[in-house]
């Protein structure tokens, strides 16, 4: 399934801010990205599909927009 990915915070240093990826679900998307970018290994970030945060592995539908967002600590 082709989905649009938006990245935030420190993830933009490893990934493009916006790109398309081909993956069936969230787990395999993370595995795919981590295999291409070892710097993602062990990183903590939340995944939201179409503005809803998902915690379990979730299947993608066509044209889903997936946000990958790490925690920010600055204040």
């Amino acid at each position: 399934m082709k989905v649009k990915i938006l990245t935030f915070g420190s993830l933009t240093e490893v990934l493009e801010r916006e790109f398309y990826a081909e993956a069936p679900d969230t787990s395999r998307l993370v595995a795919l990205l981590t295999s291409k970018h070892a710097a993602l290994d062990g990183r903590k970030f939340l995944i939201a599909i179409n503005d809803t945060i998902v915690k379990e592995n979730t299947m993608f539908k066509a044209n889903d927009v997936v946000a990958l967002m790490p925690p920010y600590s600055g204040g």
Partner: protein
């Protein structure tokens, strides 16, 4: 009730009025951290007439704070943030009570400090305090207005407040466990646009006022994010189930015994620090590889032989660091220490590992004082 011209614009505001102003005057807000977020949040909450405001910060004012911490002036460098803020805020509004606490928030003092307030604002600048505060407010069922910033981007949420369906969430619902220290550098390390905390801190004050007055829809169970570079803003729904991997104290007594420094990976392996003087003695040694762990575009450029491998790319480039001794450097010595702690677990004992204490800044001071 006797009206006060100071709040006349609130009295006239539909949905707010004299009743709303009275609710504010009978309320209390505790602000943890008087930095980029805390300064504007405090100014607006004090101006709005919240009856009692508590301020917690142990830090002193530094020159590099003034680009965004707009309560402070150049003449106040070196003074206590809490004391200077309290004095200025009393001039802004002498009709409210301001409580000063010059201290670190810790598991020993958090419960007593937080219990006495209606709403708490997380304006802190590190994960250990953020998780401590989130867990404590969850255990006390205290509304927590969360704000956090990174470079040009901000996050905002309201925790421990039930939405229409009775559902409440916390920071652990977003990020069940803290990131490793490599993941999330602070403002001192990566920089921050000065107006960003002004916007997010003011929005935190807005959410607190909405909660206290009972107007509008606060950001319960939602995470708002804003990117100032492209004005992209999103509101994400936070699911009500706490992920299984979340591990946190589930009672107040367990909270008091919890080690947040350890939980957030701050207490890592020991990496040998070398002084600028020692650095000058060994930096030309053939066995020594100097690794600049700053990002590629950071200045100043180094005038001696080195390789540049930013912290985030270390794990991809272990093969490039094949000399007997690795000497890590960065701007302040903070990232090089974290990088060292990370590398210590990856490389074998045949390589020596050290980092430059005080960073390039300290080195430059020694070379040209």
């Amino acid at each position: 009730m006797e009206t006060n011209d100071r709040y006349s614009k609130h009295y006239r505001l539909s949905g707010f009025g004299e009743a709303g102003q009275t609710r504010l005057q009978r309320s209390s807000v505790l602000i943890i951290g008087v930095g980029g977020l805390g300064c504007p949040a405090l100014q607006y909450l004090v101006a709005a007439g919240v009856g009692k405001i508590g301020i917690i910060d142990h830090d002193r004012i530094e020159l590099s704070n003034l680009q965004r911490q707009v309560l402070f002036g150049t003449a106040e460098i070196g003074l206590s943030k809490t004391e200077v803020a309290a004095a200025k805020l009393r001039m802004l509004n002498p009709e409210i009570e301001i409580q000063e606490h010059v201290l670190y928030l810790s598991t020993e003092n958090a419960i007593e400090l937080i219990e006495g307030y209606d709403v708490v604002l997380d304006c802190t600048d590190n994960f250990a305090t953020r998780y401590l505060l989130s867990d404590c407010c969850m255990l006390l069922d205290k509304p927590l207005v969360f704000g956090a910033i990174y470079r040009y981007e901000g996050q905002l949420a309201v925790f421990n407040v039930a939405d229409g369906g009775g559902v409440k969430t916390t920071y652990r619902h977003l990020f069940p466990l803290p990131p490793g220290p490599l993941d999330a550098p602070d403002c001192n390390e990566v920089g921050v646009l000065g107006v960003l905390p002004g916007i997010i801190g003011t929005m935190q004050a807005t959410e607190a006022i909405k909660l206290l007055v009972g107007v509008g829809q606060p950001l319960c169970n939602k995470l708002m994010t804003i990117s100032l570079l492209d004005n992209r803003s999103m509101v994400l729904d936070i699911p009500p189930t706490l992920p299984e991997e979340a591990s946190f104290p589930t009672s107040l007594s367990a909270f008091e015994a919890f080690d947040y420094g350890y939980h957030c990976g701050i207490k890592g392996p020991v990496v040998r620090g070398i002084s600028p003087r020692e650095f000058m003695e060994i930096y030309r040694d053939e066995d020594v590889l100097i690794v600049d762990v700053r990002n590629a575009d950071e200045l100043p450029e180094l005038s001696f032989n080195h390789v540049n491998i930013p912290v985030a790319e270390l794990s991809d480039n272990l093969g490039k660091m094949d000399r007997k001794q690795l000497l890590l450097v960065c701007q302040s010595g903070k990232r090089s220490l974290i990088a060292g702690q990370f590398l210590k677990e990856k490389i074998g004992s045949h390589q020596k590992l050290s980092h430059l204490e005080g960073g390039i800044t300290a080195l430059a001071l020694m070379v040209s004082p």
